[in-house]
Symmetry: C2
Subunit: 386 residues, 2 copies
């Protein structure tokens, strides 16, 4: 089963509830990334305690290890990992971009040379659904081609064309077998690409909307394009997409990005920022990102964010996290990650509340002002948009 | 405050309760090792959930980072880490052995060249207590010289002689100031050395017992000496030590070692085996150590130890832990560590119960038979005693 219910709106923003065979999650939703079958440094028990309702995992990585055959045999990623709530898997489309030197795109799919041992891996619109049936995610993605901002117009046209053809092929393959190997229902989203013009984006959104998917993903945004263009392009896409299904902005983003995108009608997000940055010593606070390894925190006994109620902030100080990260202690990675994942989830909860209470624009304005006036946040914006 | 109450005995074994200013812990007790101020891979919250009642930390490592001055300023390791229960610190004496190439022993102490940057670090009987006052552990250790099994008789005699002289100096320095910088009471144990003969061991135990410490540590055992000699030597020591205070066998050991030593009247243990081995892929079970990365566990959906009730075994399979360790996922280190620490704590609980119920020798015999008949345990014994 798959349902999406909108419970409140505020402008174009929506608060809602998605229900799957593994339970429901509230939207706008943030999905922590569990590339290898675990959200790095956290256990399923900790994810549960932090209030995580859905995680994302990566088809490309799981196809390599532990592999399709084993996953199918053990009941998919739910069976393997003990995580009993919803899972969404990407399609490998992002690796078409991130592993650009290790793949060749042809009309019927993508050939990767494994980043582990160079062995070939054939991804077609059909085969990525087959792998995702073995992984047994609740929400699955079709293979797409995510162009780079620096690509020529011809390259972007080809990427969009292939994305559309593969969406049709995936739609047919999903209709043929809309269930995971583990037995439960799987829901396939369409992916909108279309490059970096409003016209291109709207054309892609209209095409994908015409294929009658239960939800829509938006790819290729918040990458290297100037951030002011991002919101114009996203606005153009959400203007065209039907309101009936959830919209998922893939791989996005900073806390400020999430607030802006949700205000434009996006319902789902995933991003490695809270987890990866935490491991590198940057944690999120209401006053912007904090470089917790800075010497100024060496004897600072206050929590990372004094307003935060996560298990890390309730029991541990900046001084301790800094000390542990300086000692390369695994526990430091756990505590920092735990905080930042909670920060993202709490941000989503506050977003949903402001939508329900009709205070979104005031709340978002205040959040963005405070978050973005910090020096670290300014630095982050420059890094992201450079 | 420091009290030790024996609540039950069985032969020479005792079940008891140690009370400190940071609360009580039951004996026989296992102290997980938090070298750098955290038990590697676990949070204080997880330690609490696993039932950990006391942790051990290392004076040498904390003296280097974050350093005495900072620790004193933030309320010691309790203040820095958020761990509110008892802490025991070693004295740096073990590093006299493990960092043998980086130190010089002289009559008044030990000079280390820091393993981080080579800078000199002077440890004297007085200075290690000063550092431990800054760390603010509840139970502290005097500086000792831990000889190696391969040392000559002359070297062992000198190590014992220095250990005894430094014990007197430490005893006087502790009496001068028996409180941590953070204000609470600190308790100093004496350390028994004496080499690898029963006569040497008993002479050292008698000398240290004569100095009127509230508890006694036993160093230098379960190192490179043949394991059959270990129990004979330990038996000689516990025969001589007063029964009025807790006996702590430093740095020991395997589950089987703990059962044997507790049967001979040891009350406290610390060891890196459950944490370090877990990170290397060996976890403990009632049927002996298990090399969880072995291919045979790739699709094994049973828990590490079917009789274990730890959070890892309640929710996760061998196949998942194996997959995560193969992917070098931090979460795998957390889950494996969590299991093995729980295994050790549960073993202590079963030991205490069997002492209280008067069934120690039956229970210990059954435990050892089952634990040691596994092929992996045989391998472990060979490795340890090689």
């Amino acid at each position: 089963m798959f349902t999406f219910e909108i419970t409140a709106t505020s402008g174009r923003a929506r608060a809602g509830l998605v229900t799957t065979d593994h339970g429901a999650f509230e939207t706008p939703a943030f999905m922590p990334v569990g590339t290898g079958g675990a959200v790095k440094a956290l256990t399923a028990h900790q994810l549960h305690d932090l209030g995580v309702q859905i995680i994302l995992s990566n088809t490309y990585h799981l196809a390599l290890r532990p592999g399709r055959e084993l996953l199918s045999r053990v009941g998919g990623l739910h069976g393997l990992s003990g995580w009993a709530k919803p899972i969404l898997t990407d399609s490998g489309g992002y690796q078409v971009l991130s592993l650009a030197t290790r793949r060749r795109i042809h009309d019927h799919g993508v050939t990767f040379a494994s980043h582990l041992d160079g062995s070939p891996l054939e991804f077609t619109p059909e085969s990525v659904l087959e792998i995702q049936r073995a992984i047994a995610a609740d929400i699955v993605m079709p293979l797409d081609v995510c162009p780079s901002f620096s690509d020529s117009e011809t390259e972007i046209e080809r990427a969009t064309h292939l994305t559309h053809r593969w969406a049709e092929a995936a739609r047919a393959e999903w209709e043929r077998k809309p269930r995971a190997d583990a037995g439960h229902a799987q829901t396939l989203f369409g992916i909108v690409q279309g490059g970096y013009t409003e016209a291109g984006r709207q054309a892609s959104a209209r095409f994908i909307a015409g294929l009658d998917f239960p939800g829509w993903a938006i790819g290729g945004l918040v990458t290297a394009e100037p951030r002011k263009d991002t919101w114009r392009l996203l606005d153009a896409v959400t203007e065209v997409l039907p309101t009936s299904g959830p919209r998922y902005l893939m791989g996005v983003g900073t806390p400020a990005d999430l607030v802006r995108a949700a205000s434009l009608g996006v319902d789902m997000f995933d991003c490695v920022l809270p987890t990866r940055n935490a491991r590198n010593g940057t944690v999120f606070t209401r006053s912007g990102p904090m470089h917790i390894r800075n010497a100024q925190f060496a004897d600072d006994l206050s929590p990372i964010d004094p307003e935060c109620e996560c298990p890390t902030c309730r029991s541990h100080s900046r001084a301790y996290i800094r000390h542990l990260l300086a000692m390369a202690e695994i526990t430091g990675l756990v505590l920092a990650t735990q905080h930042s994942v909670y920060f993202y989830l709490d941000l989503m909860a506050r977003l949903r509340r402001s939508i329900r209470e009709g205070t979104l624009s005031t709340w978002a304005g205040e959040f963005l002002r405070r978050y973005e006036e910090s020096p670290a946040a300014t630095l982050e914006r420059k890094e992201v948009t450079a």
